[in-house]
Symmetry: C2
DNA sequence: TATTTTTGCGTATTAAAAACACAGTTATGG
DNA sequence: CCATAACTGTGTTTTTAATACGCAAAAATA
């Protein structure tokens, strides 16, 4: 952690934080990881103590190689979740002059996608909790607005990147994939057309995990064919769901 | 401008700047507005003096309502170009730990689109100069990388927003519009298919400015039908070029 | 056991994208 | 001045993708 001391500048500097919207999918709906704010360790005074907020915190000017490193470090410290720096996608900067009552603070918002079932055990239940997207309470600072913008980015990105596969377990079924897309986009697709379109992209691979398919009712199990996806991406290919 | 003095913090703060990639189109190719760096007015020591760079500068913590206001203010100060705050689209944050030799500086990059012919007179020729995108020299800091990312954002945004109309004069022809799209995207379209597609969106309006159309060779003049576009956008419509 | 739900596979229809031909007028080069 | 090339507009045809449904088999449900 950064050292406390006396740091002097000729011109005013803003404080900089990184906040992260962590999205997870439980098979039914999209969820977000929130923390309950405690006493601030770094800033002079604390703000919004006891309220729900996005995980995040102040940049360590000496140690954080980039602002994404700040986001990753703070997420780990506040929720126990350890993600790779490249999993953080930048959403935008929030810099309204009065967004923090203590001093001028600008924050760089990120979002990250996790396989909820696999990480739920890692999240520190004392401090962090998963909320359904439509049950998120009033949050500290401008975090409701950040959440809104991040959701919009996710909905846009899903059209061009295989983000669905970051949210689902490694092996999944076509109906699961469709449910995910429908709940993120808030629409419904025709079952058969959705499957056809997905298959045309050749980024799904049937997986045989021993489960017998006695009838057509047992859904086929798929995995994400990352190798094929990377190849397609390199050749200038563009997904469009 | 911010006052010089002694500002003390308990924890280290990074300096924050806003840089802007201003794109203009001269009818042939995409251009970018660059400035020649002089002595820094605000920071203790100057860096990259005499080199080309993107217009931008330090946030005024007391006066800049948002980081976009910083971008607008600095652009005005450095190039004479006065743009509305809402014309600045955020590209991303650049925060590598060693990107500025003086101190830790993170920058929020933006891009803006202007009608080159109409603003060329406003740009202060002593300090600023327009460069063709493929003739941009080596820039200060990580500005080449910022330019690259901004160009990528522009190429993406052009698919969903009528950005072409911000770059062209108010009245333009179909070939001009096509040339713009082709030079931004680096592709070629079939003349007839392009025109058909554009017309289907119903965001173009034929303009009669008195120029007689004696033959089919004199191109039809169009204007951007903003009213129709806003209506379409409100109804959930999405452009896709 | 009868009924409903779920899954896969397929077809017909509709809309859009891509490829292409022609005619009139202006610009260009000798 | 004339022949040629270049530019613009308006179509049509062909190919491809998107959309809307039908059917059968197995599993869950009542």
């Amino acid at each position: 952690m950064a050292k406390k001391g006396q740091y002097i500048y000729e011109y005013k500097h803003p404080a900089v934080t990184a906040d992260t919207v962590v999205f997870g999918y439980d098979g039914k709906e999209l969820k977000v990881l929130l923390i309950k704010r405690g006493e601030e360790k770094e800033a002079g005074t604390s703000a919004y103590v006891g309220e729900w907020a996005l995980p995040g915190g102040f940049m360590d000017v000496d140690k954080d190689k980039t602002i994404a490193h700040t986001a990753a470090r703070e997420l780990k410290e506040e929720t126990g979740l350890k993600l790779s720096v490249k999993d953080f996608k930048e959403v935008g900067t929030f810099s309204d002059i009065d967004r923090d009552p203590r001093e001028r603070v600008i924050t760089v918002a990120h979002y990250a996608l996790v396989k909820l079932a696999e990480v739920q055990a890692d999240t520190d239940a004392d401090k962090a909790e998963w909320f359904a997207l439509d049950e998120v309470p009033k949050l500290a600072f401008d975090h409701n607005k950040i959440l809104q913008v991040a959701s919009k980015h996710l909905r846009r990105d899903i059209h061009f990147e295989p983000v669905g596969f970051d949210l689902l377990p490694g092996i999944f079924t076509m109906p699961q994939l469709q449910n995910l897309y429908e709940s993120i986009l808030g629409v419904t697709f025709d079952r058969r057309n959705f499957a056809n379109k997905m298959k045309r992209y050749n980024i799904l691979a049937e997986v045989d995990d021993g489960t017998p398919r006695r009838g057509t009712r047992t859904p086929i199990r798929y995995g994400f064919d990352k190798k094929n996806y990377d190849r397609l991406k390199e050749s200038g290919f563009q997904l469009e769901f």
